[in-house]
Each structure stands twice: as C-alpha cells, then as structure tokens.
Amino acid sequence: VTNESPAGIGPASLTAAVSGMPDWLESTLNVTPGRDPLGFQTITTDRIIPRLVPGVLALSRRARYFSFYAFLIDDYRRRELGASNNSLSTFIKRHEYELALAVELCPVGHRNEAVASNGRERAAPAVSRGDALFARNESVDSYLGGYGLYYRSPMVDLGLVAPRGTQIGESEDVSPIDVLWPDDQRAATLAAAFRSAINETEYFRHYFASDRDIPRDVLRDYARVACLCRLEDFPHERQALREALLVASATQPEEDVVRRREAFAFLTWLAAQDERVVRVDQAFRDRIWDVHEAGLTNTSDTLRRTGARWAALIAKEDAQEGISSIWARVCATGLAANGSNGISAADLDAALIEPLVAPAFLEPFGVPIPIEPTLESGKLRASILAAAAGHALEDLREWAVRDGSALAGLALLLAVDGRVEALGDPAAGWAEIAAQDGEWQPGLTHLRLLLAEHLRTGPDVRTTMRWLVRSRIVWPHELIAYSKLPQSTFRFRWESGRLRFYDLRPERFGLTDNRRDALGRLGADIGLLEWTPTGAIPTTEGRALVTEVFG
C-alpha cells in the first residue's frame, strides 16, 4: 500500500496540519439591534442639540464633576507627575473610583438613585460586600475614564480645559497633556473650591496620594464633603460652577455661552409654569410646544427665538415618531410575511405595503377616522388635524405611539406637518433647527418639502405609504446597516432579489435625548432649580437668570 495519494499529499497524523483540510466558516458579525436604524436620531444628537445646548452631553449631568476634574487636573500638575495623558488617565481613573466609592457610602444615601457617578458599576459591588478596606482600582477601563467619556469634551467646550496638543499662551510648545487654561480664572477657582472642600479630610491628607487600602470610614468621611450631592454646603464652589457654565470667557465662543444660558433659562422658565417639566419628558415636550403654539413666548424676542428653536426640535422628533411607527410595522409585517425567506421585489407591495394600509379605523381622541387604501392622503391629513384640534401635539404623539399602526404613524406625520403649517411664517430661530439635515435623512424642513411635493399629486394612502417606506425606510436602513458592519443591525436586506427580514428587537426607535435630564440635574446642582416631589421649581437665582436672559 502506497502512502502517496494521487494529489501527492500523504495521510497526516495531525489533521489540523493537513493541507487542503476544510474548516467551517465562522462569522465575524456581531448581531445587535444597534441604534438609530434610520438615521433620524443622529440629526438631533449631532446637529440640533449642539446648537441648543452646547457643552452639555446627555451624561455630563452632575455639576460637581466639573470641579472634581478641574481639581484632579490641577493636582496632577502640582505633583508634576508624568506629562502625558496616559499617566493622567490612570490618575483620574483611580480617583474617580474613589469618589464613586464615596458616593455609594454617602450618609445621605444614594443607593436607589440614579446618581450617575463614574465608576459606579465597580464601586457599588465593592461597597455592597461590606468591605472594611477598599483596595485601589480604576473606575472604568476606557482611556481617561468618565472624564474622557462624558466631561472632557464639555470642559473643553466651556473653555476650562486646554486639551493635549494645545498651544498655550506665547509659548511655542504645545501641551503634551490636558491642563486647565492658565488664563482662565474660572478653572482655577473650580479646582481650588473642590480642594478646599476636601482639604481637611483624612482621605485627602493620608490616602489621596498613597497606594494603601482605604478604610470604609475614611471614604464615608470623604463623602460627607465630596459627594455629588454636597454642593449646597459649598456656596463658593456652586457659584464657581454657575460661572463656569453661564459666564462668557475668552476661552469659549461667545455664542455657545449665550445658547447655554438660554437653555438653562428656558428650562427654568418652563419650570415656573409646570414643575413637572424637569422630571417628566412628556411634560417637557408638551410645554415647549404648547407655549410656542399659543404664543406665550412672545414676551421677549429672546424668549420667542429660544422657544421657537426648541419647538422645532419637538416637531422634528414628533415627525420622527410617526416614521418610527411605520418602521416598526414594516419590520413586523415583513417578518410575518415569510420575511426570513425574503419577499421578492414584485411581491413587495402586496406583502409589505398592503398590510400596512389595510382598511382600518383610527380613533384619535375618540374621533373615528375610517381609512381605506384609496383614501386620498390629503383627506387623511385634514381628518387627523380636525380630530386633534384643541389637543396637545404631545397627546397626539402619545396616541399614535399607543396605537402603533403604520396608519397612525402616517397620520401623526401628516398632523405634525399640518400643525407646523398652521404656525404660519416660522418664528426667528425655528429655521435654524428645522433646517438641520442628517447624512441619510432630511431634517424637518426638508422632510416637509418632500411631503408637500408628494402630496401635490393627490396620492392615496397606499401611494403615500409606499413612497414613505421606499424612500425613508427601506433604502436608508440598508445603507446605514451596511455602514455599521461588522455590527450587523439589519432588520432587512436585499438578498438575491428578495428583501429578507431579520428578527431583531426592539423594532421601534424612540425619542432622542433632548438634554432635559442633564439640564435639570445641572440646574439643580448649581442652584437654579430646587427639587420637589414631582419636579423642580426655580430658585431665586433661577428666576434671576430668567430675567437676565429673557428680560
């Protein structure tokens, strides 16, 4: 028996080493629902919010972190530790972790609150174990920790931090490390205020710069002065934070400060009318739209302009909610219609569009609206506007989301278009926000123009639904999902001429963070608002800001 095969490859004792041995394919895809499947939310997050609330991220929502990080950066420089952000990263992450431990141990008790301390995921279990001594750790693995993730960018925007690589002053050298702007007294004041608060603690005197395990009592004592909730005990620090957020400086664009002041003042102004706006998103959106639609902001140009900007955001988000409803039904309907095997292009209308426009009754606010696929879309628009007359736009949005049908989504979109049209000529400020387009989707103004162009031909509901599904849902989603690979976020995809659906939930995408929470928490932290059981009301300082900004 010869040992030679005709291919010249002898049998091998180790299969893995055999040339020609096949392996089964392993996927590199990470199947995940992902975010923003149609590219609408990014318009709010990346284009609109930076214009409304520059320098405030969704998770940069505790004012004390601004003074804490200013202090850390200042202290790092004082100790003349390695002049690189890598070393600074380690320094920050260690002290972030210790502050997170302190927050967990705070005598006030925050265990059941969303206190948003950076490093809580690691600190909370350590505290819960009841350890008497805490070994050193870092808050998170990510570079520069929570500072890098949530506060660095705002602190740069606020002109407090000169990021690594900045040329500072007349020197020819660039900074190799993040530092506080030397010319900006606000940053130094923040750092000094936090230092002053903790200066006498056992933690700062004996543990801050050491490697020793930290006793529980020492951290509890540290929490007494350093916890995120303790600002009210340190009025100078609170004042410094207010100035950092609301006072112009040479190190930040003046327009940013103006917008930030308007945002805080607007929330405070709204809170004076309805304290729930600070805690409840629906109330926040409702009041923004209501005061604009009812002309309650006409008391000053600045207030009118600010209100118009925010109202444009609300309208954009509500229109997006309508499309989200249609999107969710497209996904569900496609899957139900043999979607995992795919729907051919020829069958798409029958399998996907027809179920979405099947005859149905909509009942917004108890008013029945019968809908046939052949109903003219313009008539649907008129009907929904009539049914919603006198009702808040937010209530209409809630109804459409609750109904969940594609027709309700279409009705909401048409109603938003009608309510915006009814406002008449856009108020100053409106156009700036409404004109913000995304990479894959139109903004509010552009979407309304497209809709108007489509409605001009007198289409029926079936035609409008087909137009929306094709132009705003099917191809944008596929394009966006391809751009996210190897994160596989496809809800559907054309494969060999068939639109194949994937079962990924959640189907619906929600409203985008509008910074209400961050503004509210920061506003309360810096003394503009005072929490109540159901919301927050303006403080004396808050009312003073409203007067300063809006007159």
Binding site: T2, E4, S5, P6, A7, G8, I9, G10, P11, S13, A16, A17, V18, S19, G20, M21, P22, D23, W24, L25, E26, S27, T28, L29, T42, T45, I49, L57, G82, S84, N86, S87, V140, D141, S142, L149, Y150, R152, S153, R164, G165, Q167, E172, D173, V174, A345, S471, W475, E478, L479, Y482, S483, P486, S488, R493, W494, E495, S496, G497, D513
Partner: protein
C-alpha cells in the same frame, strides 16, 4: 476548527482576485472593499454571468449607492466559460511578499462569507505545503483568463502577477483541485480502491436525478453511507432514495437540529484505514462532479480542495459548529427523502449578452457583446439611449451620471443584462501607487505644503501614524463623545477597529518578518542618499566625500520663523506620542517604525537647516526618551515585556536606525557643543539603556552620518567613547541632586577646606542623625566612589562625621567627640551600605551619643 474568512480582508494586500457564483455588490462595496484599503489595490471579481446579471438588475434606481464603485475602484465581470454555471468560490489575497488563497463553498455575499454554513480551505503562501496549491490555482486562473478573453481582465491578471510575483511557480501535485481538464470526481477517487468502508456526503445537491451520487456510489461501492441532509436540499428525493437503496450499503441519514440550510459541500471516503475529504464549490451534481469544463460545454466550472486525513477526521468534518447554540446531528429515516424535490435555478431575467461597457475618452461607450446584436439595438443608461456603430455608441453621452448600461430594442425595451460601465482612468488609478494624502497633519497650514518642510511633514503623515489622537479613529471617537454610550469601553473598541482600517496601518505589518523592512519603508534610505549626493550607501567610510558637497551652490531654502515653530510643534507632538500605548494596538512594531521615520526627519531637519540646531537637539531628546525611557517615566521600550522587547530589538538590529540615532545623539553631545549639560542628565536614562540594548550604535554608518551633521569626520571608536561618557557623566550639582532625590535627604557636595585626604566634603540637612541614619552610610560610600577618594567629611548642622578608609571613623556629635573601635575598610563600608546599617554600628557608645 473554524475560519473567519472576512478576517483575511485587510490592508496587507495589493491584490484581491475572486471567483464566485453570486455576488452582492453592496456588501462588497460597503464592508469588504474598505477593509482592503486604499490603492494600490487590484481587486478583480469574476462572477457567473447570469447571476451577476440578476444582481445588477436588482439594483433599484432609487438606491444609487448600490454598485457605485463597480468598475471604478474594482473590476467585476460576468463570465460564462461554459454553458454550465461558473461556480468556483476562490479568494486570493496577495502582495509582493506573500499571500493567502481561500477555496470553499461561500459566495461573495454576506451569507457566503459571514453567516452561512459554509466550508473553506485556507492556503497560506508562507506554508510550503500550501504554496503548491496557490501555484495550481494560478495555473487554473491563467487558463480561465485566456478563455474569458476580456482585455481588462487580462491586463489586471498580468498586473496581479507583477504585484505578487511569487505566485508563478512550478506546478506540482497539490491539494487544490479544479475541473478544467478533468472531472473533479476522477481526481478525488484517484487511488481510492473500491469497495470503500465509508462514504460521507453533504451538499444542497442541485441534482435533478441524483446522477452524481449514483456514479459516486457505483465507483466507490461503499459498505456504509452517511448522508447529512440539511434544509432545502434540491434533489429528486425518490431518485436519491433509489440510489441509496440499490447501493447495498448500510445507509445512515442525518439532519440538523435545529434544521438549517447548509451550503457547504463535502464528500468523504474511508478505505483501507485511510481517509479523504473533498471540499469546495462542487455540489453533488453531474455538472459539478462528472464533467470537465474545457471539454464539456455542459460542465460547471468548479474547484475545491482534497485532503488526505485520518479516517476519524472524515466523519467529524461533517458536523457544522454552532451557532445556533446546541446545534447537533439528529438521525432521520430514509422515508424523509421521498418528499425532496429538485428546484431548478431561475434563468437570468435578461440574457447576459452584454459582457462589458467602457467609457472612451470622448464620452462615447464601447461595448463587448457575446452575440451578434440586431440592427436597431441601442445602448441606454436609463436617461439617454444612443445608437451603436459597431461596438461603439454613435454619439457621446451627454449625461455620464448613469452607472449602468444595457441594450434596448427599437421600442426601448431592455434586451440584455445591465453592466456597470468601466471607467478606465479610475480603474487605473486604483492600481497606481498611493498618491500623497491630501489631508495634512494638524498644525500644518495648507500653504506649508508648498514648502520642502511641509512636503516632508506631509510625506511622513501620509505614511505613518504618529499621533493616535490625530487619527481618524481617535477623531471619530471624539466626535462620538457627543452621543450617549452605556458601554464605556465601546469607544476604545471602535478606535481599535478604526485604527485597523487606517490605510497607513498596514505598512507597519510588513515589519517583523524574516526580511529586514525597517529601512526603506520607514527610514527612507533612498531619500537620505538623495539628500547627500556623496553618500553612496549606509556603510560608507567617514571622510570619503568632499566637504563642499554639503553646502552646494546657490541660496539654501530655509523656513521662516513661523514655519519653524509649526514644524517644531508638529515634530514635538509626534516624538512625544511615541510613548502612547495606543499606538501598539496596531502592533508592537508601530512605534519602532515611527522611531525610524522620525530619526530620518530629524536628520533631514539638521542637515537642511530646517530648524536651528538647539531645536533639533531638543527633539532628539524628546524622541529618545519617549522611545527608550526618561527620568522617572517609562518609554516605549521600557514598558515592553521580554518577548516584545526582543522582537523590537531584533527589528532594530537589521536596520541602520540605531546608527542614525547614535549619530544624532553624538552630534548633540559632541565636545564642541557647549550647551549639552542643559539636557544631558535628562537624557541619561535613555542613553544608558539605549547603549545597553543597541538602540544607539557607533559604527561606520554612524560616523558617516555624524560627518554629514557636523561637517567634520569622527571615528566610530571616538563616537562610541563619547556616547559612553555621556551616559555616565555627572558633576557635583547633578550628583547632589540625584543622591538627594534617591535618599530623600538634602545632600550638597561642598568645597569646605579640610585636610587634603578628605577628597569629598558633604553637607546634609541639619536634623540628620549622622550615626543613626543608615542613609548617611550610603551617601558616604557613593561620595567616595564619585570623587575617587579615600576620605569624606559629612556635616549636619554643628555635627560632623569624618570617614577615612583604613582609619577609624570619628564623629563630633552635640559637642562630644567619639571614635570607632575599629578602622573602617572599603569592604566594610560597602557591606554596611548594602545591608542598610548606620555608622552607629561602629561605635560601642553609639546609643549614648545618639541620645
């Protein structure tokens, strides 16, 4: 064992050559092509003509992004060498040095390369056992390209072989198998002696009458047959049942739980204690297994791999691994076969007669058709329809925005497939060497790029990743800071993925192989030679060129002050960033490449007077300490574990980089340089480690470079001596600072007037216990060594300690004088210093004195 096929799509390669039955343009263009990186890239894809026609036809008009890069950045051709299916799935990735060939069942689609149950064989050119298969694939491709007879394909095939010249090699028996001249089944069964013990089968079949299985069973005469029948098999069930029933073999039928479609194709036999597996594109059909493509027009074009393996491995190969979790084999009854039906593949909606269309320079289009076309047939791109004059449109296309073209009849009805129109100039550009990147480094102004300095920086920036924070990866991460994240590590992971896609990243991956690559890729030797015409090579002896060469004639260009500032800032940032650990995400040799490139740049700045000498020297210090280590802070090298450190030093050892480094350091600390003490001590940790690890070298290349830098010859030996001196030199002030820092006592070497035998006189802080503090022993021991003396006086406030080797130690403490019982020898002093003992040990009365 599983294989991540998509992992092979990366920036290593300059050639991607694929054959496939089906092709998803959006998947390739959105995901795979970007992973292959920037030009030069010869990406060529041969697809079954009918299936490509379907794929292009499906690209709806309202999705212009689909197929937007076809026949612009890569070439795709529908081919039909036979009337059967063009069915091979082969993916070749190559560059000048090496390559990988994947042969399997998966098409160039998302299902085929990512999510399907597919089987692939990987051939690696670095493995001698696999190289023959790649040569065999090349021979097969040569035949195919010849038959396809498409000029663009032929040109690119030639180009591919120039880019990966090693691919041409002697053909010898190999695991790769094709059906071009011989049916695959014949090759597979060569040497297999019937009756075999076991026959294992799985595939989606695509065999109307089970003829392939019938032939296989007849020729192998198996005693046992095991069939894995997954979902949606396409075969006439009764016919298959009949074949299996008549075989006389013990037949086992398996399915999968959960039931999945398995596209992988495997045939296995076990005979006489041996095993063999066939994998690849061939289904269990006659067109795939029983026909030779060059001789039989009904044959498919197929290829695969044959592996001779242990018998036990044959059966094991047939179980696809999860997902889904818990995937397992289940036994099925033979009755379940009877319900199977053969499903014929759809014909293309439009006959694929139009093989290609290409823009001509005058905006007319030349077409290539496989049939004679009727008079009156015209060419359309959707917006414009134009008559043809022979193979060329009569008129130029006024609208050249249409990406696809097809033939229409008199009535405007589509009568051919659609093709993506070739853009020859753009296709050619994709093959060209990379143009200089238009994006300039941060801190450099657009006008700077017109200057030699700007061009130098742009050249460096286009080829190296110096500052991670400047990369698109980091910038994208920063931009993303404005969105919410519930996953704090996400941005780092994203940045790593983005860094991997940075077109510059692949250059670093060429380091570390057996061939020295640092010089030429990162340290631009050619440019160095060009800069210094007299320098003929890195080993030229010093003093062998005319001093006048350096100055030349005419006015030397020098940057203005502001440009110098920008140049310095950019280089300082890049040198500092060398110690950034994130650069190592791209491999531990990335900072090594940067070190070499930056040394070359500093050398250029020095020689061409782009910066004043002190500024270049400052940058040398920044670079050196970032790479090796600085005073009290780690550098890139000092952070590495033993294995990585060895890898780094091995890479440097084959390069002239250490010689250039040695030359720059020498020039900075040369005797004529009066200011070197202002920075020398900060450099010393790097100098000490650098000399020890050969990061700094003093050889003839060093000497040549030194001569270019300072204009006068210095011997390698003199350079070496100076570097060694510089690494250890100290003075009183520095000695005092160092000892103070290390002992945490205020120590000052003084010049107090004591007897001549006390060559070292010291003052320490007023509160120091001269007899009780062990640090005083260490200070004395070091002072004697530093001053090379036998005697030392230490003063602390009014107290004084006198030490003279070979003599007793005397101390005046609080007005009382005490003397040690025994003389102090050098050995005893060293032992005490090592043990941490105080001088009090020498005195019986020490406790009284101390009190």
């Amino acid at each position: 064992v599983t294989l991540r096929v998509v992992a092979s799509f990366d920036r290593h390669w300059t050639v991607f050559w694929a054959t496939t039955y089906t092709f998803e343009l959006p998947f390739f263009e959105s995901f795979l092509l970007p992973r292959l990186g920037e030009p030069p890239l010869n990406a060529t894809i041969l697809v079954d003509a009918k299936r490509l026609a379907d794929a292009v036809q499906d690209l709806a008009g309202d999705t212009p992004w689909r197929g937007a890069r076809a026949n612009r950045d890569y070439l795709v051709r529908g081919v039909a060498p036979t009337r059967g299916a063009f069915h091979p799935k082969t993916y070749f990735f190559g560059n000048y040095r090496t390559g990988v060939l994947l042969v399997g069942s998966g098409n160039l689609t998302m299902s085929g390369l990512e999510s399907g149950k597919e089987a692939f064989t990987r051939f690696d050119a670095a493995d001698p056992a696999d190289l023959g298969s790649i040569h065999a694939w090349r021979d097969w491709m040569e035949s195919l390209v010849s038959v396809i007879a498409d000029d663009a394909v032929t040109d690119r095939w030639r180009n591919a072989q120039l880019r990966a010249p090693w691919i041409v090699g002697r053909s010898e028996p190999a695991a790769f198998v094709d059906n071009w001249t011989r049916p695959i089944l014949d090759t597979f069964l060569d040497g297999v002696e019937a009756p075999v013990d076991e026959l294992h089968l799985t595939a989606p079949f695509y065999d109307e009458h089970a003829n392939a299985v019938r032939t296989l069973v007849e020729r192998a005469a198996p005693r046992r047959i095991s069939v894995l029948l997954a979902r949606d098999a396409s075969v006439h069930g009764p016919a298959l049942l009949d074949v299996l029933g008549r075989s006389g073999a013990e037949v086992t039928l398996h399915g999968l739980e959960p039931d999945l479609f398995v596209h992988g194709k495997l045939i296995g036999v076990v005979w006489q204690g041996r095993g063999r597996l066939l994998s690849g594109s061939a289904n269990l059909s006659g067109a795939a297994l029983l026909r030779a493509a060059s001789a039989d027009p009904l044959a498919n074009v197929e290829c695969g791999a044959i592996a001779d393996v242990d018998p036990e491995a044959v059966g094991m190969a047939f179980l696809p691994p999860p997902p889904p979790p818990g995937l397992r084999l289940t036994e099925r009854t033979l009755d379940s076969l009877s319900s199977l039906r053969f499903v014929r593949s759809d014909d293309a909606g439009h006959p694929p007669h139009l093989r290609s269309a290409a823009w001509l320079e005058d905006r007319r289009i030349r077409i290539d058709v496989s049939v004679t076309i009727d008079a009156g047939v015209r060419l359309s791109n959707g917006t414009i329809t134009t008559a043809l004059q022979g193979p060329v449109t009569e008129m130029p296309f006024a609208d050249d925005t249409g990406r696809f073209a097809w033939l229409v009849d008199d009535a405007g009805r589509q009568v051919s497939n659609k093709v993506a129109i070739d853009e020859p100039a753009r296709l050619q550009l994709a093959l060209a060497e990379p143009r200089e990147r238009s994006d300039r480094p941060a801190g450099v102004e657009a006008a700077d790029l017109e200057t030699p300095v700007g061009q130098m920086l742009a050249r460096l920036h286009s080829s190296c990743i110096f500052d991670f924070d400047e990369t698109p990866a980091a910038q994208r991460g920063r931009r993303s800071d404005t969105t919410e994240s519930e996953d704090p590590e996400f941005w780092d992971r994203l940045a790593r993925e983005e860094l991997r896609r940075d077109p510059r990243a692949a250059r670093y991956h060429q380091l570390g192989g057996p061939t020295p690559m640092l010089d030429g890729i990162f340290l631009d030797i050619a440019l160095m030679l060009e800069m210094v015409p007299g320098l003929e090579g890195p080993h030229r002896l010093p003093g062998s060129h005319n001093e006048g060469d350096r100055s030349g004639t005419g006015n030397r260009w020098t940057p203005d002050r502001r440009l110098q500032v920008r140049l310095f800032n950019v280089l300082a940032r890049w040198c500092t960033a060398l110690a950034d650990p994130r650069l190592e995400w791209n491999g531990v040799l990335t900072p090594v490449g940067n070190f070499a490139a930056l040394l070359g740049a500093l050398r250029e700045c020095w020689i061409r007077d782009y910066l004043p000498e002190p500024r270049v020297v400052a940058l040398v210090g920044v670079l050196l300490t970032a790479f090796v280590r600085g005073e009290g802070r780690p550098g890139f090298l000092s952070r590495q574990d033993d294995d990585h450190r060895a890898e780094v030093l091995a890479t440097l050892a084959t390069s002239v980089t250490p010689s250039i480094a040695g030359a720059l350091v020498y020039a900075a600390v040369r005797p004529a340089q009066k200011d070197f003490l202002s920075f020398l001590f900060a450099w010393q940790p790097a100098l000490t480690d650098g000399l020890k690890s050969d990061v700094l070298r003093a050889d003839f290349t060093t000497a040549s470079t030194v001569e270019e830098l300072i204009g006068s010859p210095v011997s390698p030996a003199a350079i070496g001596q100076r570097l060694a001196w510089a690494s250890t030199y100290t003075n009183d002030e520095h000695w005092s600072e160092t000892v103070s820092r290390e002992t945490r006592l205020q120590v000052v070497l003084t010049s107090a007037a004591f007897a001549a035998q006390f060559g070292a006189t010291l003052r320490v802080g007023p509160e120091v216990d001269l007899l009780g503090d062990p640090r005083v022993v260490r200070i004395v021991w070091r002072a004697l060594a530093y001053r090379r003396t036998q005697g030392c006086i230490v003063e602390s406030g009014p107290n004084r300690l006198s030490v003279r080797l070979g003599d007793v130690v005397a101390a005046r403490i609080n007005g009382a004088t005490v003397v040690s019982d025994d003389p102090l020898t050098a050995e005893r002093l060293e032992a005490m210093a090592m043990a941490g003992a105080p001088f009090a040990e020498l005195f019986w009365v020490s406790e009284e004195v101390a009190s």
